[in-house]
Amino acid sequence: MTAHVGIVLISHSRALAEGAAELARQMGVGEVEVRAAGGAEDGGLGTSLDLLETAVSEADQGAGVVVIADLGSSVLTTRTLLEDREEGGTEVVLADAPFVEGAVAAASAAAGGADVAAVTRAASEAWDFRKT
């Protein structure tokens, strides 16, 4: 049994990141690590590079990590993390995806054994979901 791709959800709000992770885990049947990096370090609204770094390393099971971000500063924080990473570590990718829908799609794909590229693609395809 090989490792699954991990998922990290970075949001301005701790509750939002944790709620989305809770939902995504439902689809992952427990084998996928879905980690939340929500809120500022003090728990208020904001984004934290340190929380993101911790979440990424916890989500990493050796098969890479896909990060999904909610709004502007979550995206910028993630890009900053990616720029800082040493070459040669596990693959970490920022997916272009709607936050909740992308998280659920990514966790589903990861649970099915998809690699980083396929999980990222599944997350992005969530832009095509429709609700009416």
Binding site: Q26, M27, V29, V104, A105, S108, A109, G112
Partner: protein, 202 residues
């Protein structure tokens, strides 16, 4: 047709099979279909009383399901039963023809709400053939028609196994949804088993 007995029996069958339904939902969903529907139908059975008119029984069960189920199956079964109840209107007796019209209304309600077609790997794959089979056999009486509906629902549910889900949570799995029976189709079989048993014993 005693719709009260039908609903009570449906609640019993769901309760008895809740674990199996949940297991089916664990494979291609979030593993709660059995407990959802059990919660909903328990509450529905409690909300019912034998002296309600048949249509009112289904409307009440439907409304309770919508409120108490907690998953997609709540609004779907809830709408099905409410539409069926509405179709029965105030009638105090329900014959084979009236029940056929009610089942057709239930199917239409489910499809209007959930937008699933046959082949999308949902409860519609059991419900649609069951309604059609019922209508075809309605001339032979309620018990026969209900039995035909049950057979068709069973075949329809079986036939969801090789399908890829295109609606509901299982659609997130894409090709990995293939090879498993749809939990909502499986619970629809129980709805028709309850109907067939009730019709046979009346």
């Amino acid at each position: 047709m005693d719709t009260y007995a039908w609903m009570v029996r449906f609640a019993e069958l769901v309760s008895a099979d809740a674990e199996r339904l949940t297991r089916l939902d664990s494979a291609i969903g979030d593993g709660d279909h059995g407990s959802n529907l059990d919660r909903g139908m328990r509450a529905a059975a409690e909300a019912l009383s034998a002296d309600l008119p048949p249509g009112k029984v289904l409307m009440t069960a439907g409304r309770t399901l919508v409120s108490k189920t907690g998953g997609a199956s709540g609004p779907l079964y809830g709408t099905a039963l409410r539409r069926a109840g509405k179709a029965l209107g105030d009638a105090s007796e329900v014959g084979a023809a009236e029940l056929g019209a009610a089942l057709r209304a239930a199917l239409e309600g489910v499809q209007e709400l959930g937008k699933a077609e046959e082949g999308d790997k949902t409860m519609v794959d059991a419900l649609a053939p069951a309604v059609t089979a019922y209508e075809a056999a309605a001339g032979e009486g309620l018990a026969t028609a209900a039995r035909a509906a049950l057979d068709a629902a069973e075949k329809g549910a079986e036939a969801t196994v090789p399908l890829q889900a295109r609606k509901g949570r299982a659609s997130y799995l894409g090709p990995r949804s293939v090879g498993h029976q749809d939990p909502g189709a499986a619970s629809t079989v129980l709805l028709f088993r309850a109907l067939a048993e009730t019709a046979a014993s009346s």
